[in-house]
Symmetry: C2
Subunit: 345 residues, 2 copies
């Protein structure tokens, strides 16, 4: 982040309780199923009768999951919620309640914290997340944000990774590789703060900075029981294909030509000497959804998709009885690379 | 923590997926209300019919909430769960599901991670917490642990901070100030690794390192609807009294002579030149419970307390219509000091 000037008000000048008050004043008003919200030892909510409750949590660490050279406090505020919304979407669950845990440096400027909170609260409002609690603490080191979300889904409509069967058609929402392409463009730009005037590039940068979780698509597919398996693309398409195949005890074949890689992403990959297919298939941070659909349910699936409000849908391959994971390009097979994992030496 | 030797296997040599596998293999088997546990994009559980769901989250940061000179990885594993269990207890809620989010340095020795996980899983088993998911990420800076817990409580049995009324008697469980006294003893001992052979001191150290959340006491009081308000003592008794009074729109008077300060804690405070009453009232990390009880429910409250299995109970003061917060000692009033807050400059 920018060097700090001592005349900028920081969290140290505000204090913990005032920071909690700043959160409380920004988040949307509670729906009536929230019985106890921010301000007690814990929150209390009415569960949805007859539905499963879905729970997910994700942490973003400064310097690991975001870099102040490439994004703003507002971007982090949107993204920390979007990555969790994406997990709910992949289970077919409607978002309900959220908990926000912040570990912040006390020299962080208050206006940065406010920009983060405005963006977080705006996304919560848009996606109908009731922010019911959380935690704030100071840290001497990299800051971090942990969001926990709950969602609701009818028992027989929940989507999992493990329901895939040989012969299922694989579909992916939106486009793949755009977030990685956006990050590549930002890295190459270095310290310069100017934005691209090329709309295809700007779209990749936006996908990296402020992903849009596919909540509506996930819930529509779940509601119509139109897919056997689903997973989000947080660690990239190749990783998601592998995870669904492994959890379902099957293999998969991906067709290189059918991967939805945007013109902008393709161009950025090529300018950096990367193979667009491999970069698109392994780039993380996409937050699209991968579905496995029984061939006889394809029509129902595609019909349900029309309710997803114009979101692109691509048929990219199929599951196989043979456990191998294959990428087919120009009629020839090649290995599908692995995605990103933490703690790798 | 100890300097690292390069021949000690670290998380970098294990990788993210193997670490998740180490978590999964240690946590207790899932009860049948857990429909989807660790391993999918999110977890899914059956809610308790007719009950409120209580949610809480707390983060511990290395160097802020723990210091490797004074505690072990196992201590952190117990404490990160206990501080959240204490929040459930203060609402009268029975623990149900837990999510564990770890931000770890990749040079952290695997055997330390295992010690943390064993202690965490042991506490989860003891307190009947189903560990259904979470998150692991690497961090270059201080490590941190965020635990999110859900619990269950019948609608009319939930305990809050805001139900106190003038005239309510204030009770506190166990003892106050022991954790602070334990920390003072550890700090004075400095780098030496020997433990105290004095059982009164050892008890204070244990309260600091491995607090025991008062889950049974909280649920018993909630079930009997025996208290008007409750809060845990995470930031000390003085803070809890202030918070209950503020949330309830009342004041409070605390009687110095009735504060349950253990002999060991009293001795440590005196050896450090601290006033035992003020240190006991403001020391954080106690994780006891403070209750406000209508005078005519005192007998019911004390009868219910017998189900709390021998946990001490002390009557320490009362709520007042006048909004002042008073400490009365030897018949004279003095101000009740504030507790600890983050981000104070």
């Amino acid at each position: 982040m920018e060097p700090l000037h001592s005349d900028i008000p920081s969290l140290a000048s505000v204090g913990e309780r005032a920071l909690i008050e700043r959160i409380r004043s920004r988040v949307p008003p509670h729906p009536d199923w929230v019985r106890i919200g921010i301000g007690d030892d814990a929150a209390a909510v009415e569960p949805v009768r007859g539905a499963l409750e879905v729970l997910t949590t994700d942490t973003m660490v400064e310097g690991v999951h975001w870099d102040w050279r490439y994004c703003s406090a507002g971007d982090v505020g949107v993204k920390c919620l979007a990555i969790n919304l994406s997990d709910l979407a992949s289970m077919g669950a409607e978002p309900r309640a959220g908990l926000l845990s912040l570990s912040l440096r006390s020299d962080w400027p208050v206006e940065e914290a406010d920009a983060f909170l405005e963006a977080f609260a705006g996304t919560a409002r848009l996606q109908k997340v009731a922010v019911i609690g959380g935690n704030v603490t100071s840290t001497p080191g990299p800051m971090s944000v942990t969001v926990t979300l709950t969602g609701s889904v009818r028992r027989r409509r929940v989507l999992t990774r493990s329901g895939g069967r040989p012969g299922d058609v694989l579909y992916v929402s939106g486009s793949v590789g755009s977030a990685l392409a956006g990050l590549m463009w930002l890295r190459a730009r270095g310290e310069r703060r100017d934005e691209s005037t090329d709309s295809a590039v700007a779209e990749c940068v936006a996908r990296y900075r402020r992903p849009d979780a596919r909540v509506r698509a996930g819930t529509v597919v779940g509601r119509n029981r139109a897919a056997n398996a689903c997973m989000d693309l947080s660690d990239g398409l190749a990783d998601a294909v592998r995870q669904i195949a492994e959890a379902s005890g099957v293999g998969a074949t991906i067709e290189a030509e059918s991967l939805p890689i945007s013109g902008g992403a393709r161009r950025i990959f090529e300018e950096h000497g990367e193979d667009p297919v491999l970069a698109g298939a392994t780039g993380g941070d996409d937050y699209e959804l991968l579905f496995a659909v029984t061939p006889r349910r394809r029509r129902a699936f595609e019909a349900a998709w029309r309710q997803a409000r114009g979101l692109a849908l691509s048929r990219i391959g199929f599951l196989t009885g043979d456990p191998a994971i294959r990428l087919v390009r120009n009629g020839r097979e090649e290995p599908l690379p692995e995605g990103f994992v933490h703690f790798h030496s």
